[in-house]
């Protein structure tokens, strides 16, 4: 019986009042749309990464090392090949390509491959010919951007190192290089023979040696990986199976989509607040009906069921609408991030994501309805006896009973979206803090009224007094708008900080170039060329490549490394990486000694200075002994101090510096940095490469610009999702304005009847909306600054600086937006004739 009555009443109430629910619907729709689009994108991206795991890796199993793989691995590979596996060897390194006709140069990434490459996925080339034909003889296959940047075409010649090659084609898709994030330059494919001719691979060159395997049908990858792993004792060799969990890129993208998802969740929460507010307003208007129903004998249960059912139906309708909107928007998101990820991401939304988004929308609606609905129980039927019904809903008798499921529900939603209890809890905490601040600001608005002097005009006093009017929902508007503003301004602040950081590096003493692989007998030539081309003298630093062989006499073995890897210890990198050692008499200018002391003389054996983080990761302190293997020769040094390195200063920085003399006799190359005027950059690069073809010139500005470009894309994507929040906030504001429309009309008419001009009434409106905007703007930007500070300090370790321009813009824009939207929603009220309105009273 209750059910039937509730359903019928719900339908009757809705058919009459659907217009009141537009704001409610908008809030739910926008929130769910945000979640659906981000969720689909994330799921599709993850799916692509999973599907393409083999192509991304390059094979079922990959073995890689910064040095030639060694006899043990070679033997194992031969055995596997004999058992039916296909092997492809790959060598990758950065180098300079030069156009012989114009002498223009470009940093490129060389990749020498076996004819069997690629083992999975397709290399898309133009012309569409097999790879071995394209790179036969002295042929190379280049990325399209190389042609653009050097002004070359297919068929032209290039000089790489000591070799002259011919461009035979263009590569448009490379299966195991999906993210241009990590690329320093365009790709160049060549054969091993051609690579040998370039004479670039010498002791000390940074080459990545890879072996890719395609296993016969049915053979599992992991045992093969384990087999290869135990075939070598070199700790730097890494064997990976395609189904190993979380190679770095996948983890990075998972994180990006998680954060995007949280931004989407903010939209939904803002929507939830809007929903709660809409339901409250709706129920307040229904107080007479509720009281009458109680008079007629309806139990509270039936009445609650009626409005709950109504809220549910609207919640479902809004959620479905939101899911559709999200699906429509998602391809745009894919397009935005396309430059960052060159993967084939599907645009069809996975059904379970759509289901999840809709569920979240419905659950949010339910949670938001709880509190207002429970207060129905407190409505007294005696209300009907009073001639003027109070406009307020009674408070709930036991608020904690209602609040607890609300908070738990929100936490559950956040954890579900974030996929992690910790992140979910942090999110809820941050959201709570934001809401408290904004609510406090909103409740401070009425205090403004009392603070205003008596002499302030009618428009001011009336405008501010209106903020306090019951049903004005000022608090809700400030909170929802404020949250949206917070997100957008935070993104802007972060982007500006990061861009400014990048800019500053360039304007500081950051060099324009890093020249690497400079041989001992090329130092003078390099100095001369740079001086002639730009009038500056490069700083030349000796470097020796070595690997860490032992700590305090304990050898660094493969077992030790594998153990750490299994424990998901990221810092195992410090054990396996190629160290670039140098020696110095004094600590470098940008380094600060934090423990121990720098050496003052060279007597007493080799000493070492270690960077703090590295020391922590290696577990060494002052007094420890580090043994390095410099191409077969052990060099032992005692740690005498630890250093703090300012990595933001883009000079040559070293993890380990040895005392002078420690590296005497070791094969040494040189790294040079030079700070040249921007106009001379191209000339310097071209002249250096022409004179010294084996030297690689890394143009810092170029790299930073690429980084800036990637940041731009990411920021745009985040802004797009954050926009849903602002739209939700505006929907709430419009809803509040619509709900109070008649009251506002009545008041404006009364004012005009007693002599106030329309301009005065308009000004009162402007004051009211302006105050809402300023409160939301101030609260939102303050929170944005705090949020940006947290992210910069704890996540990105970039210094935070006070950015008054952005903050002021935030407040001003919000105020302007609030006033504009307010006017658009209410200006027509001023056209109504007073008498007509008063008579209907």
């Amino acid at each position: 019986m209750t059910g039937g009555f509730a359903v019928r009443m719900a339908w009757r109430e809705t058919r009459h009042a659907w217009r009141e629910f537009l704001s409610f619907l908008a809030c739910v729709t926008l929130g769910v749309a945000a979640l659906a689009s981000v969720g689909s994108f994330g799921a599709n991206l993850d799916g692509a990464l999973g599907r393409e795991a083999r192509s991304l890796l390059g094979g079922d199993v990959e073995v890689r090392s910064p040095r030639p793989l060694g006899a043990g691995i070679d033997a194992e590979l031969e055995k596997l090949a004999a058992d039916g596996a296909t092997v492809a060897r790959v060598e990758e390194l950065s180098a300079m390509a030069r156009d012989p006709s114009s002498a223009r140069t470009l940093l490129v990434e060389l990749k020498a491959v076996d004819p069997t490459y690629p083992l999975y996925g397709r290399l898309e080339t133009a012309p569409d010919l097999p790879l071995d034909r394209l790179v036969a003889g002295d042929g190379v296959l280049v990325g399209a951007d190389l042609l653009a940047r050097l002004g070359r075409s297919v068929g032209d010649r290039l000089v790489i190192g000591a070799a002259e090659v011919t461009i035979h084609g263009v590569v448009t898709r490379e299966p195991d290089r999906p993210a241009s994030l990590v690329a320093l330059g365009p790709r160049v494919f060549l054969t091993s023979a051609t690579l040998a001719r370039t004479d670039l691979v010498r002791h000390g060159s940074r080459v990545r040696y890879r072996a890719l395997l395609r296993l016969p049908e049915g053979q599992a990858a992991r045992p093969v990986r384990d087999g290869l792993s135990s075939a070598t004792t070199d700790p730097a060799v890494r064997a990976v199976a395609f189904d190993d969990a979380q190679p770095g890129m996948r983890r990075f993208f998972t994180q990006v989509t998680t954060y995007l998802g949280l931004v989407g969740l903010v939209s939904l929460l803002v929507g939830g607040i809007g929903v709660a507010s809409a339901i409250r307003t709706f129920l307040e208007r229904r107080l007479p009906t509720i009281a009458i129903l109680k008079c007629l004998g309806a139990p509270s249960r039936s009445i609650m069921a009626t409005y709950l059912g109504q809220a549910l139906v609207l919640g479902v309708a809004g959620s479905v609408g939101g899911a559709i909107l999200g699906i429509v928007v998602q391809p745009a998101l894919v397009g935005l991030l396309n430059g960052v990820i060159a993967l084939e991401v599907a645009t069809q939304p996975p059904p379970w994501i759509v289901f999840r988004a809709i569920t979240m929308g419905v659950v949010t609606t339910l949670l938001a309805s709880l509190w207002p609905l429970f207060t129905i129980r407190e409505v007294r039927p005696s209300l009907v006896l009073r001639s003027r019904v109070e406009a307020r809903l009674p408070g709930a008798r036991r608020p904690w009973l209602v609040a607890t499921p609300l908070v738990l529900g929100l936490i559950a939603l956040a954890v579900w979206q974030a996929g992690s209890l910790r992140i979910g809890a942090i999110f809820v905490g941050a959201a709570a803090a934001a809401l408290i601040l904004l609510t406090a600001l909103a409740s401070g608005l009425p205090l403004l009224a009392r603070a205003l002097p008596r002499s302030a005009g009618l428009a001011w006093r009336h405008g501010v007094a209106n903020l306090r009017r019951p049903g004005a929902q000022s608090g809700v508007v400030v909170v929802t708008l404020g949250v949206g503003v917070m997100l957008l301004v935070a993104v802007a602040l972060l982007e500006r900080s990061l861009v400014r950081q990048i800019d500053e590096e360039q304007r500081r003493e950051a060099p324009s170039f890093f020249f690497i692989d400079v041989q001992a007998d090329q130092r003078d030539a390099l100095t001369t060329v740079v001086r002639e081309a730009a009038g500056v003298t490069p700083t030349v630093t000796p470097v020796v490549r070595a690997r860490l062989a032992a700590i305090d006499g304990v050898p660094v073995t493969r077992e030790m490394v594998e153990q750490r890897r299994r424990r998901q210890d990221d810092r195992v990198w410090y054990l396996t990486r190629d160290y670039v050692l140098t020696f110095a008499e004094r600590p470098p200018a940008t380094n600060v000694v934090t423990r121990g002391r720098w050496w003052t003389d060279t007597a007493g054996g080799a000493r070492a200075s270690v960077e703090e983080e590295a020391a922590r990761a290696l577990g060494v302190d002052v007094g420890a002994r580090l043994t390095f293997d410099v191409q077969g020769v052990p060099v032992e040094a005692t740690v005498t101090n630890l250093r703090k390195v300012d990595w933001q200063s883009l000079t040559t920085n070293f993890f380990v510096i040895l005392s002078p003399g420690a590296l005497d006799g070791a094969p040494t190359t040189y790294v040079a940095t030079a700070r040249v005027p921007a106009s001379a950059e191209t000339a310097v690069q071209d002249r250096v490469v022409q004179a010294l073809p084996n030297v690689t010139a890394i143009p810092v500005r170029d790299v930073l610009e690429r980084l800036g470009g990637v940041l731009d894309r990411l920021a745009l994507a985040i802004r797009a999702i954050a926009a849903f929040s602002i739209l939700s906030g505006l929907a709430v504001m419009l809803g509040a304005l619509t709900a109070s429309r008649y009251q506002r009309l009545y008041e404006s008419v009364v004012l005009r009847t007693i002599g106030a001009s329309r301009a005065t009434v308009l000004r009162a409106f402007a004051v009211e909306f302006g105050c809402l905007g300023i409160a939301a703007g101030l609260g939102g930007t303050a929170l944005a600054a705090a949020l940006a500070w947290v992210v910069l300090r704890f996540l990105l370790t970039v210094p935070w600086r006070f950015d008054p321009a952005a903050l002021t813009m935030g407040v001003a824009a919000t105020t302007a937006l609030a006033v504009l939207v307010g006017f658009l929603a209410t200006f027509r009220l001023l056209g109504r004739k007073p008498l007509a309105v008063l008579r209907h009273e």
Partner: protein
């Protein structure tokens, strides 16, 4: 006795001032009687009527209707009680604005789980001469029509007790007379008890008994002079 009121006190706070609306009121009503409650405005008449229906809880005292002590019932129990026992007619009609006339009359029937509430409601509306207005909303009806719908609603479940609070207060005299005639007919047909609040002495004369209230106290009672208005 269908109504027994003993020592009823009702205090409310209006702003910061405590107000004694009813001051130790005693009242007995026999089943089937028509009792009018009169008094100047502010004398507590409407509040007394509301307490008879259990619309509020008194500060002290007891209200027993049809043998049930209302002061001991919970809100939901009161609602159930009201549904079956009481038909209430308000001065401002208090129809639900989002329901048609037919739906308004059907609400008590639906709440009670009656069979075919729509047919019963239609019959009721025909009985009050509103057969052409079944699907009109309250805003489309005149005051007199709205009150007729309210009357039909009040008697839908044939409650033993009818309470009417100034039922003609918002109507002109001609329409008011029609409404009163209708109310009395419906009451007679169903043999219900009727307690009506009015400050119109002419109306009060139709009652079996008139109870006079002033400043929250019963200051007098007299016999009415019932004249069949519809004969």
């Amino acid at each position: 006795m269908i109504i027994v009121v003993r020592d009823l006190v009702m205090r409310m706070t209006s702003g910061r001032h405590p107000l004694t609306v009813l001051d130790h009121v005693n009242l007995d009503v026999d089943a089937g009687d028509f009792v009018a409650i009169t008094g100047p405005s502010g004398s507590g008449k409407s509040t007394l009527l509301g307490l008879l229906a259990g619309l509020d809880h008194p500060t002290s005292g007891s209200v027993t209707v049809a043998g049930v002590d209302l002061t001991r019932l919970s809100e939901d129990a009161l609602a159930r009680f009201r549904r079956r026992t009481i038909g209430y007619v308000f001065q401002s009609y208090h129809l639900i604005p989002t329901l048609t006339a037919l739906e308004n009359v059907a609400v008590p029937l639906e709440l009670d789980g009656a069979h075919d509430p729509a047919a019963t409601a239609m019959a009721l509306l025909q009985d009050v001469a509103l057969a052409e207005r079944l699907h009109h909303y309250p805003v489309q009806l005149s005051g007199g029509e709205q009150q007729r719908v309210a009357l039909a609603r009040a008697v839908a479940l044939t409650p033993p007790l009818l309470l009417a609070d100034e039922p003609t207060g918002n109507l002109d005299s001609a329409t008011g007379a029609q409404i009163i005639a209708l109310l009395l007919r419906l009451r007679r047909e169903r043999r219900s008890t009727l307690v009506m609040v009015t400050h119109d002495p002419a109306l009060a004369c139709h009652a079996d008994r008139v109870v006079m209230l002033r400043d929250g106290r019963v200051v007098g009672e007299r016999e009415g002079a019932p004249v069949a208005l519809d004969s």
